[in-house]
């Protein structure tokens, strides 16, 4: 995939105002059902997490510490908001795990589940290091953000990015996004927000996924936003497991043979 065609999201959490327009626009465009209108009682986040029918989720973090370089009128407090989404990993755990070939990489370098192929085995659900993809109980198949594959093919930008009023969600060519993100980090650091950094912008940043096509600008540790600190496509680690299985299989054949031979001696 050439960088010129690869598209993605740059989500700048420092300008997110928590309006959830992205959640609504996504639900509306993709015709996703509601999740039951539950009330968490924890924060303004009543969505909780991404799932099979929620492909954008705004996290609300209330911290008893101020944001660096920011003065508040009411003591030590800061409010972080982040619109979470499928990361469209360069090395995607779900795509590697999918046994049917239902999950593919599109011409835009995004990761897409073909609904006409998916047989609902659920393996991608366990393989995603971000807890994004999930299986719908009413439908039996796995679903997640498509990076608006349909809209992109019609030269439209994804619904969430279009709805975002602050340009916290920026959609574009990956190359341009990375440039813009790097500039934004420099700008914030110059303003005193020294903790600002990019999460998953490239392979050096996040070797386990080889980088994310939907990456983020964060100002606190990833865990605070419910993001894993060092996510890894599980397939990266599985070589040792296959080798161990090979040893155990040889052991089984050897011990079985020895048991049979030694019992023959007594015959």
């Amino acid at each position: 995939m050439s960088d010129t065609q690869a598209t993605g999201f740059f989500t700048d959490t420092t300008v997110c105002i928590g309006c959830k327009a992205c959640e609504v626009a996504c639900k509306q465009w993709n015709q996703l059902p509601d999740d039951g209108f539950s009330f968490t009682g924890r924060s303004y986040d009543n969505t909780g997490a991404l799932n099979s029918t929620t492909w954008r989720h705004v996290a609300f973090v209330e911290r008893p510490v101020p944001l660096e370089g920011q003065i508040t009128g009411f003591g030590d407090f800061s409010w972080l908001m982040m619109s979470d989404v499928c990361k469209h990993c360069v090395k995607a755990g779900c795509l590697e795990a999918c046994p049917t070939g239902s999950i593919i990489r599109t011409e835009f370098d995004s990761v897409f589940v073909q609904p006409d192929i998916c047989n609902g085995c659920g393996y991608c659900v366990a393989a995603c290091p971000f807890g994004v993809i999930d299986r719908r109980a009413d439908d039996g198949r796995a679903w997640k953000c498509t990076l608006c594959y349909d809209r992109q093919r019609a030269d439209m930008i994804p619904a969430c990015a279009q709805a975002c009023p602050t340009e916290s969600i920026v959609f574009g060519k990956l190359h341009d996004l990375k440039e813009r993100a790097a500039q934004r980090v420099d700008e914030l650091q110059a303003k005193g927000l020294t903790g600002a950094y990019l999460y998953g912008a490239d392979a050096t940043d996040q070797p386990g996924t080889q980088g994310l096509n939907a990456f983020f600008l964060l100002v606190d540790e990833p865990e605070v936003y419910n993001l894993p600190p060092e996510p890894v496509a599980p397939g990266n680690k599985v070589g040792a497991s296959w080798r161990s299985l090979a040893g155990a299989m040889a052991g089984l054949v050897l011990v079985a043979s020895a048991s049979v031979m030694s019992s023959k001696v007594t015959r």
Partner: protein, 305 residues
């Protein structure tokens, strides 16, 4: 350093987002651990049958036949369990529209499909005569070749997920599954009536398998215990109870087997304890994965370690 993740009253450790899970809980239902047991025992039985066929020829005809029946039954039941666990069971065959080494589940589907066909072929055809019987013998050998991977690929399948307790046990889990599958097959075989030599072979293999199973379980605890939080499900909750019960049942099975020798009553008791131990082990590993996925600190701390 942030102060956000740990409001007063929360346990120490890595920060979390309101304590919510960082990854999804596997959607698999009870059919999956039940399949791990049935498919595993079937794979080991097919292997034992083929080894006997090659090394002992006609002398163990009865035991070979029992192995083939067990393999045919286990693979058939296992396939049915797997299909019923799918969100879209009618699309099971989509598993076979590609061959994809990066997906242990895809590789396993091919192994299971071939092993099921060969095991049924061996069990049915070898009851015939002439060329049919010879085809049955060949199918039995083929099933025997696929037996070991069938008995153990499920451990690799679990290791290749984002679930901390499965991923962090990736080198020891395959040994545990192979040993437990072999023990399970031997237990089921010991329920039958065989001659002295056949019984000796099955009991010897079964004893070794159960000893290795106990050792491998300790090794899994050690490997996952690299990060204390990750190994916790093998100690606490339903998965911990099943894990300990599995160990105890296996020890009781070994003890009964050693004390009662080849007497039928003792053999049946040992076989039942052994089967229960192996079954409990699969359900423990499955429940451990669910508990591990629900614990965000297990996810975070395994990555920070």
């Amino acid at each position: 350093m942030n102060a956000a993740g740990n409001p007063p009253g929360h346990e120490p450790g890595s920060p979390t987002y309101h304590g919510l899970p960082a990854i999804k809980t596997p959607v698999w239902t009870w059919e999956v651990p039940a399949y791990f047991y049935a498919g595993g025992a079937a794979g080991a039985a097919a292997t034992i049958g083929a080894v006997l066929q090659v090394l002992d020829g006609e002398d163990s005809a009865r035991l070979v036949r029992r192995c083939r029946d067990l393999a045919a039954l286990g693979t058939t039941v296992g396939t049915a369990l797997l299909i019923s666990d799918l969100g879209r069971p009618a699309r099971f065959l989509n598993m076979l529209r590609v061959f994809k080494p990066s997906s242990p589940l895809n590789v396993g589907s091919w192994i299971l499909t071939a092993a099921t066909g060969l095991s049924i072929g061996a069990a049915v055809l070898s009851r015939g005569e002439g060329p049919l019987a010879r085809m049955g013998e060949l199918a039995g050998l083929g099933a025997g070749v696929l037996g070991p991977p069938l008995a153990g690929y499920t451990a690799v399948l679990l290791a290749a997920t984002a679930v901390p307790v499965w991923q962090e046990g990736r080198t020891t889990l395959p040994v545990l599954f192979i040993a437990s599958s072999t023990g399970a097959a031997c237990s089921l075989l010991e329920l039958g009536d065989f001659d002295e030599t056949e019984l000796t072979a099955v009991r010897r293999l079964g004893t070794i398998a159960q000893v290795v199973e106990l050792a491998a379980a300790k090794a899994v605890e050690r490997e996952t215990g690299r990060v204390e939080r990750v190994a916790r499900p093998y100690d606490e909750g339903l998965s911990g109870a099943l894990w300990k019960a599995s160990g105890a049942l296996t020890i009781v099975s070994l003890a009964v087997d050693q004390v009662t020798g080849k007497r039928k009553g003792g053999r049946v008791a040992a076989a039942l304890f052994g089967s229960a131990g192996s079954l409990a082990l699969r359900f423990s590993v499955w429940h451990a994965g669910r508990a591990s996925a629900a614990d965000p600190r297990a996810t975070f701390e395994s990555q920070r370690a």
